[in-house]
Amino acid sequence: MTLPTQAVLQALLEHYGEELYGFELSKASGLAAGTIYPILQRLTVAGWVSARWEDPEPTRVAGRPPRRYYRLTVEGRARAVHALAARSTSRSATTGLLNRRPGVEGGLA
């Protein structure tokens, strides 16, 4: 799982239960909307995220283009939590390995 995917999942988890549109998600994850678009595409196909287009009537009144809302599904939430936890564990294991000093027990001699 790439870092941008992790950032998107993190942002969706932080706003679990809410619907976020592309620009909001871009701000929440700190990535450009173009970067998160293919990620959301993959997550939608995998069933982690559900997406819907906004009703066109209010947007016509407001004079803006319709937004696409994304929401983490129940299954997606469980998987995202698991995946992020696994990544965090592996990252801390790697960091621990790199921080070991030569001569210290268990370190590289």
């Binding site: 450009a32 173009g34 678009y37």
Partner: protein, 152 residues
């Protein structure tokens, strides 16, 4: 979508991009000698903008020509970028094209207050285009894409 269609779309899009951007400069290189009637042959996109550094391949004519003589000088960065995004959207599968264009429009509208953010978003869409095209086609080719009927 068959692999043949996929390849045909890629080739058609490449030809379209070439036709738009590789509009060679029609200006003769100003020099006294046998090369007098040669064209500089730079793509229009290179010679069109006044802010473009002179060292980066403008012919002598285009260095000194007034703005109205430069190709597409009547177009600003906005229409050029919009046009580029429109052209490259043809690289996406038809079902995905509408969704992507709507997303681009929506994001650019939302970020309209801040030019810097808007530029970052445009750059983001352009840089992520290979990934978007690849993902879209893989989803279509692998048959995993569900029809997006919710789009209006």
């Amino acid at each position: 979508v068959s692999p043949l269609t996929f390849v045909a779309v890629i080739i058609a899009a490449a030809v379209l991009c070439w036709a738009i951007f590789h509009n060679p400069c029609r200006a003769a290189v100003r020099s006294s000698g046998p090369a007098q009637n040669r064209r500089c042959g730079r793509p229009a996109i290179v010679v069109a903008y006044g802010r473009y550094p002179r060292s980066l391949g403008r012919c002598e004519y285009h260095r000194t020509a007034p703005a109205y003589r430069r190709p597409r000088s009547n177009l600003g960065a906005g229409p050029m970028t919009g046009g580029s995004l429109w052209v490259v959207s043809f690289l996406l599968p038809p079902a995905e094209r509408k969704c992507w264009s709507a997303e681009v429009r929506s994001v650019l509208w939302e970020s309209r207050g801040d030019r810097l953010v808007q530029r970052q978003q445009v750059r983001g869409f352009l840089w992520a285009l290979p990934a978007t095209i690849w993902t879209s086609w893989m989803v279509v080719v692998l048959g995993a894409m569900r029809p997006r009927r919710e789009f209006r």
